[in-house]
């Protein structure tokens, strides 16, 4: 926690032989000798060196570690493109209901009617909100959703007897887009952006030909901008026989307001850990459901959930399916949380979410404009991307300002992304942050900018009050120490 300079030893360093944190019950069945039943060669030779700690030691260790984190619950976390919104506490209670927690994934459908109804409903809600015809809930995260969506698109083209090896991706896209395309065995070709951050249409249309399977666009873009010509672009893409894929990372700006399917999107993935308020968990678990239009539905992963004569079933009989991307049904616990969030919001609530997210971002943009000489013109959507160029004192970079924000108890915005904006700071306030918080944040940015001119070294060496100071990342990569050794 900010202000505290705590060092917490590793659990292994607190271990002492013979301690245990949980006793197991005494074995109540007649026993057989292990070595008579398993040959010595198949047994473990030496034990795993797990730490030996009492329960109170374990509880204190991890509670103290938790204090070293910034989080939404404790800090404003304006991390652009990540939608760090409030995660409702009631969902923690719901996922721990024993009859949910204890559900085995291979149960027969007769004993899974409650959970199958939830999955069926999540698919219906997502289809309604996104204007799509069907969803697969299997992908575990956005990147796996992308892979799934690309494989589905590829299967669709191949089924029509077309070989389309290319996927067009704007240079402002997330790195997962080209990486997922490569994993699906296709070639990513970059489309340029115009100086104002929109897709360069001349470049796009020039590259759009019979080789192109799909165009992947983030809507709104990673610059927080809505492409006003999106319907025309979709039309051109369809005329070329290609599909429009939407990276749904920024859906929080649109949900309830405009449906991607109505804009001409054929495939999209949704990050439930963003728009649908499931916890980011320090880097997962997320969920990346993939939505498609009717023509692509036959290619979605199996199993799918269907309602037949009042009974929910898992369906495997899909001849054209791309197969499985998850060992079971996906991150169901995350899907349950998303469902609960949907029911809390209702149809109306989602419109309010996107409107208030847009309002907050534009308010921040207006307040920050006097501080940044290269602020782009016009309205943004749910996040504002500013360039630090020319804003700070001598030698002070965006990275330094981001680190200095930590000293003031704010997590840093996303920095140096999108790649096309020099010294970028990407700020996403979400619908949850109060005007008071936004005002205080702006005042802090103002103070840091002033400090960057009066005392640049103070900013360049920030942070000063976090549990650790700036880290030697080169050392970490050159001499990798990736595990504890006694």
């Amino acid at each position: 926690m900010s202000g505290e300079k705590v060092v917490e030893p590793l659990s292994f360093e607190k271990s002492a032989p013979g301690r245990k944190g949980i006793p197991w019950p005494v074995c109540d069945v007649p026993t057989v000798p292990v070595d008579k039943n398993i040959p010595a060669g198949l047994l473990r030779e030496s034990p795993a060196l797990l730490p030996e700690l009492s329960e109170p030691q374990v509880v204190r260790h991890f509670t103290r570690l938790s204090h070293l984190n910034f989080s939404i619950d404790t800090n404003f976390y304006p991390l652009g493109s990540c939608t760090m919104k409030h995660n409702p506490k009631v969902n923690d209670r719901i996922v721990q209901i024993p009859d949910f927690a204890g559900l085995h994934p291979l149960r027969p459908h007769e004993l899974s009617q409650g959970i199958l109804e939830i999955l069926f409903e999540v698919e219906r809600w997502l289809s309604q909100l996104c204007g799509m015809d069907a969803f697969s809930l299997q992908p575990s995260a956005g990147a796996q959703g992308e892979l799934t969506g690309i494989l589905v698109a590829r299967a669709y083209h191949e089924h029509r007897g077309e070989n389309r090896p290319v996927v067009l991706i704007p240079d402002s896209a997330h790195g997962t887009n080209p990486a997922s395309v490569a994993l699906a065995g296709l070639t990513a070709v970059t489309v340029k952006s115009t100086p104002d951050g929109q897709v360069d249409l001349d470049d796009l249309y020039q590259k759009l030909n019979k080789e192109v399977a799909m165009v992947m666009m983030t809507i709104p873009s990673t610059l927080g901008l809505f492409e006003p010509r999106i319907q025309e672009i979709a039309k051109k893409i369809h005329e070329a026989g290609a599909l429009l894929y939407m990276d749904g990372a920024n859906l929080n700006a649109l949900v309830g307001l405009v449906r991607p399917g109505d804009l001409g999107v054929d495939v999209l993935h949704v990050n439930l850990h963003k728009t649908f308020a499931t916890p980011h968990g320090g880097g997962g678990p997320g969920a990346g459901p993939v939505g498609v239009k009717k023509a692509l539905e036959p290619f979605l992963p199996v199993p799918r959930v269907a309602l037949e004569n009042g009974v929910y079933r898992r369906k495997f009989d899909r001849a054209h399916s791309i197969g499985r991307v998850h060992g079971f049904q996906g991150n169901v616990g995350v899907l349950i949380r998303a469902y609960a969030y949907m029911r809390l919001q209702g149809a109306e609530g989602f419109r309010e979410i996107s409107e208030n997210a847009i309002l907050a971002a534009n308010y921040l943009k207006a307040k920050l404009t006097p501080l940044f000489p290269k602020m782009p013109l016009g309205a943004c959507m749910h996040e504002v991307v500013v360039s630090g160029e020319g804003a700070f004192g001598p030698g002070v970079r965006t990275l330094d300002v981001a680190k200095r924000l930590l000293d003031h108890g704010y997590y840093a915005p996303t920095i140096y992304f999108p790649l096309i904006v020099p010294e970028a700071l990407m700020i996403e306030p979400t619908e949850n942050e109060s005007k008071e918080t936004l005002d205080a944040f702006v005042e802090t940015v103002r103070a840091i900018i002033a400090e960057s001119k009066s005392d640049p070294d103070k900013v360049k060496t920030a942070p000063h009050t976090t549990p650790v100071r700036r880290l030697d990342e080169v050392r970490a990569a050159r001499e990798p120490r990736l595990r504890y050794r006694p």
């Binding site: 944190g21 292990v34 009631v90 085995h104 575990s140 791309i322 079971f328 309002l359 650790v468 504890y484």
Partner: protein, 442 residues
């Protein structure tokens, strides 16, 4: 409920922006598509929501389950989730700003250490989505590392894992070559026949899908290595309190579904894929990795490292497309293993072994003998006197899950039922299960 702005504040904000109406901010959006009518219900209060969810949950209430097959019912100490769900962990993002994320980073460093210890491998990553995708990514690494294109996958590997591998490999240039295992384990002679200059790796699941311990792991390891391929071992972490870990028999990559380490069954996820490998493969390992370093004051600290392998740096040339993983599940596993401890982990494995062996003996006595004579850990296949589907249906009516009928995956095993018994079953549970099975077979 979650939106703090008063009407007055909204007006002030619009004034500061310099527009008179909110819709002035939506100029880029197509007017005719704005605010579509949605066929969805209106909002519930928290009180109504809880009631609704409890009702849905109660529909699937179950008394007991003997179903395993890749997802296992183990006792989860209360403190695991009481700590893991603390907001400071659960509502933090990926630890990109290391100075404000040491809690998450140190816990991942401990997680990587624990995975290395469990598997007896050199290095581990910060987790994958699940065991199946971890196995698939391992196959991709093997193909890349060896420059070869064939992955030998015996029938004793979980069929659903195989399907995920096939999806991931579909367009990679590599392919799955299925190895038949009529004896229920991987035989050396069969592998010899399948090995060749194209073999990138042999994937072995141990304990295997039928619950058997693979008897020839050391020999298999030598065989595949002498043919220039890698050994990928997929395992069940709880078994490793007793059973040889992948590093002990020479695996190059070890993967596992980590669900048994403190995660609820939750109808299939979120789980956590464990991934570890030898030092030689370190720079080809997919996913995030945390390393130890020093801060500006010379103090020990932790940071995401070796990011040059990852998608946000390398884009289409990255080792994998994975970005978000299963950090909170990895944290839960870390807390779980810290509580269970070195001796407790061995005791737990022994308890599973004893309960399952007692159950196998009871079931045999009630007319359900084991199919395979191979050594096993806590799961085994039995031959049923009537169809396994009938058994499962009859026990379902009593809200007991008898196990997994193997006929759904293997046509020639239509009379077999896969049964799992963990530490949570008492002697009287097992005796009653024997009674129920005998009754159902009548």
């Amino acid at each position: 409920m979650f939106i703090p702005h008063t009407d007055e504040q909204k007006k002030e904000m619009l004034a500061a922006i310099g527009v008179s109406r909110f819709d002035d901010l939506l100029g880029a959006l197509p007017k005719n598509l704005l605010r579509p009518k949605l066929d969805l219900p209106s909002s519930l209060s928290e009180m109504e929501l809880v009631r609704h969810m409890e009702e849905l949950a109660s529909r699937d209430h179950l008394a007991q389950s003997y179903l395993g097959a890749g997802a296992y019912e183990h006792f989860v100490p209360t403190s695991v989730w009481s700590i893991a769900l603390r907001g400071e962990f659960a509502t933090a993002y990926t630890p990109y700003q290391a100075e404000a994320s040491q809690g998450t980073l140190q816990s991942i460093f401990e997680f990587q250490t624990l995975v290395c210890e469990l598997f007896k491998m050199d290095v581990a990553n910060a987790s994958m989505y699940d065991g199946a995708s971890a196995a698939a990514e391992a196959c991709l690494v093997a193909a890349k590392h060896t420059g070869r294109n064939e992955i030998l996958v015996p029938e004793t590997v979980h069929p659903q894992t195989v399907r995920v591998i096939q999806t991931y490999l579909a367009h990679s240039g590599a392919r799955v070559k299925t190895v038949p295992c009529p004896s229920g384990v991987v035989e050396l002679e069969t592998i010899k026949k399948h090995l060749g200059p194209d073999t990138a790796a042999l994937l072995v699941q141990n304990p295997n899908f039928f619950g058997c311990l693979e008897p020839h792991v050391k020999g298999l390891s030598e065989l595949v290595h002498s043919a220039g391929g890698l050994l990928i071992a997929s395992t069940y972490p709880t078994a490793l309190g007793l059973v040889a870990p992948p590093g002990q028999y020479g695996a190059d990559i070890a993967v596992a579904e980590g669900q048994s380490l403190g995660l609820p069954l939750a109808y299939g996820g979120p789980y956590v894929g464990l991934f570890a490998c030898t030092n030689a493969l370190l720079r080809k390992m997919p996913g995030r990795v945390v390393g130890q370093t020093l801060d500006a004051d010379g103090k020990r600290a932790f940071v995401l490292t070796l990011q040059a392998r990852e998608q946000h740096i390398r884009r289409e040339k990255a080792m994998s497309n994975i970005c978000t993983n299963q950090a909170l599940c990895a944290l839960a596993a870390t807390i779980y293993l810290s509580l269970v401890g070195k001796n407790g982990f061995q005791e737990l494995a022994t308890l599973n072994f004893q309960k399952a062996h007692y159950a196998a003996e009871v079931l045999a006595r009630r007319g359900f003998p084991r199919v395979f004579a191979h050594p096993f850990f806590n799961e085994f296949a039995v031959r049923c006197p009537v169809s396994p589907e009938t058994i499962v249906k009859k026990l379902s009516e009593k809200r007991v899950l008898a196990g997994l009928p193997l006929g759904a995956y293997f046509k020639d095993r239509a009379d077999q039922l896969l049964v799992c018994v963990t530490e949570i079953k008492t002697k009287s549970d097992i005796d009653r299960f024997g009674d129920l099975l005998a009754e159902a077979a009548r």
